[in-house]
Amino acid sequence: MTQLLNAPAPPRTAPPEQRPPRRKALLEWIAVHTLGVAAALFFTLPFVFVVLTSLMSDQQALTRDLVPDTWQWENYRKVWDTPGFLTWWRNTLLYAGLGTVLTVVSSLPVAYALAKFRFRGRNLSVMLVISMMMLPPQVVVIPMYLFWAKQLDLSGSLWPLIIPMAFGDAFSIFLLRQFLLTIPDEYLDAARVDGCGELRTLLRVVLPMARPGIAAVALFQFFYAWNDYFGPQIYASENPAAWTLSYGLESFKGAHHTDWNLTMAATVLVMAPVILVFFFAQKAFVEGVTLTGVKG
């Protein structure tokens, strides 16, 4: 069929030529959208089953039923009232919120210098940033733990995770630099000619133009902190008052043994904010993902 379609068009009348392509296009449309619906089911059904189970009664959650007989909305109330749950929320918001602000403030000037200043060692610095970005946190965790726990006596809190964010985050620096590279130098030169210092140029000219990049970095950092499990496990596990949602969620399963309904309700409550944030900031997010290093 393709060959027929693609054969060099001899000077013929139009109608006989038109029919096969249209039919082919229709078939392709059907095939593509069937696959699309199948894929959509694969991506959404897990959410659906989780939500359905979260609304089952304790007894029904122990069966193989897929749909709740009676919709137990109070499961969410029970989860919400679990001792500690609100504290985990507060801690997560502190870690994610404060951490994100600190990261953006400390990473932007670094990214600006790496993108727009000319100095010896710049390429080396960028390579070091990339190396730090790719470094698994577990590589340096032993000395870092000893540093925070033994020298500064800060274990049992989230501060060992928040304070480092005031000193630039490699991934954010890299992403912001990639974004700043796309801003033409002429804008900066114009500001400099007008007598702006570099800090002024950064705040007055670059900052407004870099807003989408900053939004993407802020989102990534917020999600990173929200999702972080290893960090709270190392520094906060000894003190339940410092747990975050991601860390506490796991222990929730432990406290409720086989109560899949309550565990799934808690799971929904941890997923929901992330998904809500995404819907409000979808564009910035998708832009950010494409920025993460792909230079086509």
């Binding site: 393709t2 699309g36 897990p46 730090m132 032993i142 000893l146 991601s246 792909v294």
Partner: protein, 316 residues
């Protein structure tokens, strides 16, 4: 000339200071949170230290212990190899497939894209809990459906043979990041090349093979290498899956030996946790940390050495 030199030098100094000032947050961070702990990790890898008293020098004992006597090291490395070969490959192929699909979908494209992307955002602990539930052999909906269709229903996270495939399913569910990257790359392929290929009579597969693939191959390589690096760091999902599926949970994490079932979900980062924070053998933990460091950096170097398409450190 000599009259100009001082001002020039002063200006150079001012510009160097300015650069230093802008870089200072990161320079401090680099020293305190990267360089110092890295050197310190090398130091501790040669010491016997449990967090109390004074570290004791013991040469390469930690190294021989990890490579010869520590029962979790080789299983973890084998699992990592499995995950690199199977999970990374599946993710790249599936991500490319979904990316292709989304570029072809003409109706409600935005809705499809959002649906495909959302699972990537699910917090890993939550997503893992969800999958342990979905795939649990007792009451899980997946096995209910499989049995309903007369298909075998494996034990997934409770069966050493099936735990890594179950983790792969979880990783495929969160393929949204690759989808977006591939989608952007696919839309960048020049339309004229497809038209030229069509005029030459190329079929769909040939167009994909000779037009699409060559154009997006840097992105495929990027996806593979970053996938490998992510696999080196693979921690939360296998650990939480093992913990939850085994039924052993607790805030302290002391009683759970990672890797359930039968070491099949062990990965290198979990060993650092196990040795350092469960066995308090900081020396041996640092040995594993250095192995992890070497592997990660080797693949990062691969990412940076490629000219052109991949991450470039130099100018545009």
């Amino acid at each position: 000339m000599p009259t100009h030199t001082p001002t020039l030098r002063a200006r150079h100094r001012a510009s160097a200071l300015r650069t230093l000032a802008f870089l200072s947050p990161w320079l401090i961070g680099f020293g305190v949170f990267f360089a110092y702990p890295l050197v310190s990790t090398v130091y501790f890898s040669l010491m016997k230290y449990d967090g109390f008293g004074v570290p004791e020098f013991q040469g390469l004992d930690n190294w021989t212990y990890v490579f010869q006597d520590y029962p979790m090291f080789w299983p973890a490395l084998r699992n990592t190899l499995w995950l690199v070969l199977v999970m990374v490959t599946c993710r790249v192929v599936f991500g490319l497939g979904i990316g292709l699909l989304i570029t072809k979908i003409r109706t409600a494209t935005g809705a499809f894209r959002t649906l495909f992307y959302l699972p990537y955002l699910a917090p890993p602990v939550a997503a893992t809990l969800a999958f342990v539930f979905l795939l649990n052999p007792g009451t899980g909906p997946v096995n209910s459906v499989l049995e309903g269709m007369g298909l075998p229903a494996p034990g997934w996270f409770t069966d050493a043979t099936w735990s890594k495939p179950a983790l792969t399913a979880l990783a495929l569910w969160g393929v949204g990041d690759l989808m977006v990257i591939f989608m952007a790359a696919l839309l960048d392929v020049p339309k004229e090349q497809y038209e030229a290929a069509s005029l030459d009579g190329a079929r769909a597969w040939q167009r994909f093979r000779f037009v699409t693939l060559p154009n997006i191959s840097p992105i495929v390589l990027f996806a593979v290498v970053t996938g490998v690096i992510q696999t080196m760091q693979y921690y939360t999902q296998p650990l939480v899956a093992g913990k939850v599926a085994s039924g052993i949970i607790g805030g302290s994490g002391q009683q759970f030996e990672p890797g359930y079932p039968d070491k099949s979900t062990l990965t290198l980062p979990q060993l650092v946790y196990n040795l350092g924070f469960q066995r308090f053998d900081y020396g041996a933990a640092c040995v594993v940390a250095l192995v992890l460091f070497a592997l990660s950096m080797a693949f990062t170097a691969l990412l940076m050495r490629r000219r052109g398409g991949l991450i470039t450190a130099g100018d545009r």
